[in-house]
């Protein structure tokens, strides 16, 4: 086994997704380059990846979030951008995590809506979703009624 020498030690990489009717990943990138300082910016189809020290990355994210707070979403990434171990070009297909993003992005507009409504609605007035539990079964007497209703 050969020795492994890590690159970008001590750095942090974050994904910044933008899913907005008013902003494109390109708009986001333009702003990011303006304020990037020493951090590395990598454009992607969904937004950006930012790599740098934890403080620098945090500052950039804070500034970028202001552009469209309800439509910009951020998460950590384990790998630095373009790492051959995770790159689609080398793997033949997407890394598994990509499909997870694809899934969440498909419903993120509902989260954006929730964020948008938050300030204008008193949170007390918004009912909390029920805790997921076993699905409720149909009441036996109701089932009986349904069966009876089907009788010719």
């Amino acid at each position: 086994m050969s020795e492994y020498i890590p690159r970008y030690q001590g750095s942090v990489t974050k994904y910044i997704f933008v899913e907005s009717p008013e902003m494109t990943p390109q708009d986001l990138a333009v702003r990011a380059y303006e304020i990037s300082g020493g951090s590395m910016i990598k454009e992607t189809c969904f937004g950006l990846q930012v790599t740098g020290t934890a403080e620098d990355v945090e500052k950039i994210i804070e500034a970028l979030r202001l552009l469209d707070p309800d439509h910009i979403f951020v998460k950590d990434r384990g790998f630095p951008p373009g790492d051959p171990r995770r790159c689609r070009a080398n793997l033949g297909g997407a890394r598994p995590g990509f499909f997870g993003h694809e899934f969440e992005i498909s419903l993120i507009r509902h989260v954006s809506h929730g964020l948008h409504k938050l300030p204008e609605r008193d949170t007390q007035s918004i009912s909390h979703p029920p805790s997921p539990g076993p699905e409720e079964k149909l009441n036996i007497s109701k089932l009986k009624m349904l069966i009876d209703a089907q009788e010719p």
Binding site: G92, G93, F99
Partner: protein, 412 residues
């Protein structure tokens, strides 16, 4: 430099078990490359539902969808490697069903493997080698009849075998224990030629297989040098006359065992190896020696005994032999001990290897050990089927080589 064979990986767990690197290295060693079929989330949802196996693990759903993309030709590959964690029931079901699905619905060769964190590239190498062979040499492996005058040589770890064939018939055989690899090879070749009544220079093509295949193959200028998994499959279905449809080939060898699930004469899935020499022909040789009988007498002796009369449940050749000595000292009959030894070997192969391949009838036993009737009987009992032992079963590798090498006659 040939184009690398592209092997599609369908898996759950290797990255998290620390063995992905081993898989990649084994593939690289046989000039192949691993890749992951590219699909979208919509494909995953649709194809997972369409396949109908409602598993919970997302990575298994992904594997199912990728398998469908391969079978339906949306993604191209030369071969498929399915790998999931050892001891995971959910994954084992998916692994088996995907292997079957790909096998039945495409021409893609498949190998499946259940790994632990201890799996190494070395363990995976022979499997990858056979996988790439099947992918690269499909046209050659499709051959069903032997033409012209050819010779096949099987340079095994215990014995060396040669067969001369003419126009689809075996006309000469030679068999000797392996001592010096080259000397043994030359001697059996001469035996086979003498029996066939032909001269060496009359041979139109030659093929070699077995452990010594490269050494002997280069020396005698063989047209075909091929590993034994593909060659033995071919030889087995040829001799058992079941070249079409499914079959299972079991070869309990001197050093390792092979269980191969064959479709139309081409290996689909297979396992190779053995936990210990206790599950090999070598153990039966030791048993015969201890009982003071020739190995050829062990089988008939075992058929007269009852294996259940002797406690033998060790996987180890040393402890297994000890159990045998103890049983004899305690007054067990030679017949019962012989039967117990056969049962022990059969049971180990059954438990350790046959679980990994689809047992589909007919089950064909080949190799020298297939002549030990007690072993064939014990295997039949375990598998609940009548085992086919074709004529010349001990010459299986040589016959397969002679048959396949005749494909080179036209090229000359």
């Amino acid at each position: 430099m040939t184009t690398p064979v592209r092997i599609a990986q369908l898996s759950c767990g290797p990255e998290y078990s620390g063995v992905q690197k081993e898989i990649d290295e084994a593939a690289k060693a046989v000039d192949a490359e691993i890749f992951y079929p590219d699909i979208s989330l919509a494909d995953i949802k649709r194809d997972f539902n369409a396949f109908g196996l409602d598993v919970r693990s997302p990575d298994l759903k992904l594997a199912i969808a990728r398998a469908k993309a391969l079978v339906e030709g949306r993604v191209e590959a030369d071969a498929v490697f399915i790998a999931t964690c050892f001891r995971c029931a959910e994954a084992a079901i998916v692994r088996n069903e995907l292997r079957r699905y790909i096998h039945e619905n495409s021409k893609l060769p498949v190998v499946s493997y259940s790994f632990t964190e201890r799996t190494t590239a070395g363990t995976l190498l022979t499997r990858m080698e056979a996988l790439t062979t099947i992918a690269r040499r499909r046209a050659l492996l499709a051959r069903e009849t032997q033409v012209g005058l050819t010779l096949g040589l099987d340079s095994g770890s215990s014995t060396t075998k040669a067969v001369v064939m003419r126009d689809n018939k075996i006309i000469g055989t030679g068999w000797l224990p392996t001592t010096d690899v080259l000397e043994s090879a030359n001697a059996v070749i001469q035996l086979a030629l003498d029996m066939a009544g032909v001269k060496r220079e009359e041979l139109q093509a030659v093929g070699t297989t077995g452990y010594g295949r490269f050494l002997v193959g280069e020396k005698i200028k063989a047209d075909l040098i091929q590993e034994e998994l593909t060659v033995n499959s071919k030889g087995a279905v040829f001799l058992a006359d079941c070249q079409h449809g499914p079959s299972t080939v079991i070869d309990i060898g001197g050093m390792d065992n092979k269980a191969i699930s064959v479709q139309d004469g081409i290996p689909g899935t297979f396992t190779m190896g053995g936990i210990c020499a206790g599950a090999s022909g070598r153990f039966l040789e030791m048993t015969a020696k201890r009982l003071g009988v020739d190995i050829t007498e062990l089988g008939p002796l075992a058929l007269r005994g009852m294996s259940a009369q002797v406690a033998m449940n060790s996987y180890c050749i040393v402890f297994g032999t000890q159990s045998l000595v103890n049983a004899l000292a305690a007054g067990s009959s030679k017949e019962d001990v012989a039967a117990a030894a056969c049962h022990s070997v059969a049971e180990q192969v059954f438990e350790q290897q046959l679980q990994e391949v689809d047992i589909r009838e007919p089950v064909i036993m080949v190799g020298g050990t297939s002549l030990i009737k007690g072993l064939v009987f014990a295997m039949g009992e375990l598998l609940q089927t009548e085992i086919v032992v074709p004529p010349y079963s001990q010459y299986i590798g040589a016959v397969g080589s002679a048959l396949l090498s005749s494909g080179f006659i036209m090229e000359k």
